[in-house]
Amino acid sequence: MTKIIYVEHNGTEHEVDVANGLTVMEGAVKNMIPGIDADCGGACACATCMVFVPAEWEAKIPPKEDMEITMLDFCEHTQENSRLSCQIPVTDALEGMRVEMPESQH
C-alpha cells in the first residue's frame, strides 16, 4: 500500500492508501474520489484521467510514452506537468505523492 494524496480542483484533499500495482487512476476510482473520469478504463484511449504531478515526483514515475504525450497535447487543461493517471503504476517510490486534478476532464 502506498499513500497518495489526490487534490480536487477546489482544493479538497483525499489521502488514501493504494495497492501497489494499481494505477494512480484506479486509486482514485476505487476510493470514489471525484475529478477523474477514466472513460476508457485505463486503455490510454480517452484522456479523461489527467492529473498534475509536481516536479519533484516526476523522476520517480515512468516517463511518458509517445501515446500519452500526444494525447495530453490535445487536452483542454493540459500543463507542463500533466500526466494520464492510468499510465502511472503505484509503487513504494510514490509514498506521499500529491496529484492535483484539473477543473474538468473534457
Binding site: 484506479e26 476510482v29 476508457c40 478504463g41 501515446m67 497535447d73
Partner: protein, 413 residues
C-alpha cells in the same frame, strides 16, 4: 400492487447493471438525487467494464476486481439497492412496475432500461457442441481461458474487432489461431479496405491464419467440436472455437411493453422513450445524432457513458443533450486503433502515413470535403484533433492531411 411490492418506496429503477446503468446511478447521486435507486441485473457481479474481456483480462494481465466500473462498496455508500442474478421479465406501464422472473415487483417513478446487447448466435449444424464459445461476459472469458493452452488450435469465427482481439491475445499465448471471415476483408463493417488490409497483414505477420470470403456451414465433433466446416471443401481442425459475429440489442422488455422499438429502443437526444416515465441508454438504444443528422445504434463505452449521464439528468427533470462525435478503440498486439466519427457515406478516404509498412498511420474520411471520421492506428494526434474537427464539420484539404510535415494542430488552413 402485489404483496411483494407493498411498502417499497417508488423511486428510480434501473434495469441492466452494465456500463450505462452504472454511469446513470453515479450521475444521479452526484447530481443530487436523494430518492431510492434500485438496480436490477441478471449477472452475478456489480457493473464491470467489457472492453478488457477481449484484451488485458483475457490475456490474464489484470485481475477480476480491476474490471469494476465503481468499487462494490460504492453502491452501499450511495444507498443504491443492487438486485443481481435477477432478470427483469416485464414492465407494467399502467401501474409503473417492473416484474422480475422470480416474481418480485419493483414499483418505479422513473425507469431506465439499460439492458445492453447480447451476442448473435451462429445457427449452423453442430452449433451446440462443447467447445464453442462466445464473448460478452466474465463467465464467457473464464470458459475461453480454460482452453488457453500453448499449441491448442483455436478457430475464431468472425473477423470483427472482438474476434481479432481474441486472436491477438491467443497468439501471444502460443495458440494456433485461424480467423474465418465471411466478408472479403476483416472489420468490413467499421473500417475502410485500407485499414482492413493493414490488419490482415499484421495478423499474418504475427502468425495468425486469416481466411476471408469463407462462410462456416457447420461444426463437427463427437460431443465436442473438432472441426469447423466451410462447406466448400475447407475444413479446419479446432480444439475450441470463439464466435464473434455481432450483437443483438436487448429490446424485448421494451417491445413487450409496447414502447417504440425500431433497430433499438427509440429515444430522443435526452434518452426519453415513447413513455414519459421510461428512459433508455447504451447499446439497446436507437438515438438521434445531431452531428450526422440521422439516427444511430452504437455499441461503445463512450455511447453508454454519455447516454447514462443524459438519462440521469432527464429522470430528475433536467435536460442534458447527448449529441457527440462517437468514438471507439480496439487494442491488438502493439496497435491502438482509435476511431472517431462514422465513415458511412464518405466520398474520399485520405491516408496519412504508410499502411503498407510499419504500424502507424491514419485514414481520414471526407464527405464532399468535410471530415466525418478517422481511423487512427497508433496516431493519437490524428484521433484527438479529428474529434474536434468532426464536431465542427470542418472542411479539410486532402493534400494537407496527407502531408506529414504539417502538424495536426495546424491542419486547418
Amino acid at each position: 400492487m402485489s404483496g411483494e411490492s407493498a411498502g417499497r418506496a417508488r423511486g428510480i429503477v434501473v434495469v441492466g447493471a452494465g456500463q450505462a446503468g452504472a454511469q446513470a446511478v453515479a450521475s444521479l447521486r452526484t447530481g443530487g438525487y436523494e430518492g431510492p435507486i434500485t438496480m436490477i441485473g441478471d449477472e452475478t457481479y456489480a457493473p464491470y467494464q467489457r472492453p478488457p474481456l477481449s484484451k488485458k483480462f483475457l490475456a490474464g494481465e489484470i485481475s477480476f476486481d480491476r474490471l469494476y466500473i465503481k468499487p462494490v462498496e460504492f453502491y452501499a455508500q450511495a444507498n443504491v439497492e443492487l438486485v443481481f442474478d435477477t432478470r427483469a421479465a416485464a414492465i407494467n406501464r399502467a401501474d409503473k412496475e417492473v416484474l422480475t422472473g422470480d416474481g418480485r415487483v419493483f414499483p418505479y417513478s422513473k425507469l431506465l432500461i439499460a439492458t445492453g446487447s447480447r451476442v448473435r448466435e451462429i445457427n449452423v449444424p453442430g452449433f451446440d457442441l462443447d467447445g464453442i464459445h462466445y464473448l460478452r461476459s466474465i463467465a464467457d472469458v473464464q470458459g475461453i481461458q480454460s482452453k488457453f493452452r500453448e499449441g491448442a488450435r483455436l478457430v475464431v469465427v468472425g473477423g470483427g474487432y472482438i474476434g481479432l482481439e481474441v486472436a491477438a491475445v491467443a497468439k501471444k499465448h502460443g495458440l494456433h489461431v485461424t480467423v474465418l471471415e465471411t466478408a472479403d476483408r476483416v472489420m468490413a463493417r467499421v473500417v475502410d479496405p485500407i485499414v482492413s488490409h493493414f490488419y490482415e497483414r499484421v495478423h499474418r505477420a504475427e502468425g495468425v491464419i486469416i481466411e476471408t470470403g469463407v462462410t462456416v456451414s457447420g461444426f463437427e465433433g463427437n460431443g465436442r467440436v473438432e472441426k469447423v466446416d466451410c462447406g466448400d471443401g475447407r475444413l479446419y481442425d479446432a480444439d475450441f472455437v470463439v464466435v464473434g459475429i455481432g450483437i443483438i440489442p436487448n429490446t424485448e422488455l421494451a417491445v413487450d411493453a409496447g414502447l417504440h422499438v425500431e433497430n433499438g429502443i427509440v429515444v430522443d437526444e435526452f434518452t426519453r422513450t415513447s413513455d414519459p416515465d421510461i428512459f433508455a441508454a447504451g447499446d439497446c438504444t436507437n438515438h438521434p445524432n445531431g452531428v450526422y443528422g440521422h439516427r444511430l445504434r452504437l455499441e461503445s463505452v463512450h455511447n453508454a457513458i454519455e447516454q447514462g449521464k443524459s438519462a440521469a439528468a432527464a429522470m430528475t427533470g433536467g435536460a442534458l443533450e447527448y449529441n457527440q462525435v462517437p468514438w471507439f478503440w480496439s487494442d491488438q498486439y502493439d496497435l491502438k486503433l482509435q476511431i472517431a466519427g462514422l465513415s458511412s457515406g464518405y466520398t474520399q478516404a485520405v491516408v496519412r502515413g504508410d499502411p503498407e509498412a510499419g504500424r502507424s498511420f491514419a485514414v481520414f474520411y471526407l464527405k464532399d470535403g468535410m471530415l466525418i471520421a478517422v481511423d487512427a492506428i497508433n496516431r493519437a494526434p490524428e484521433f484527438m484533433m479529428s474529434r474536434l474537427l468532426i464536431a465542427q464539420k470542418a472542411k479539410l484539404d486532402p493534400a494537407r492531411l496527407r502531408d506529414e510535415s504539417i502538424a495536426m494542430k495546424q491542419i486547418v488552413q
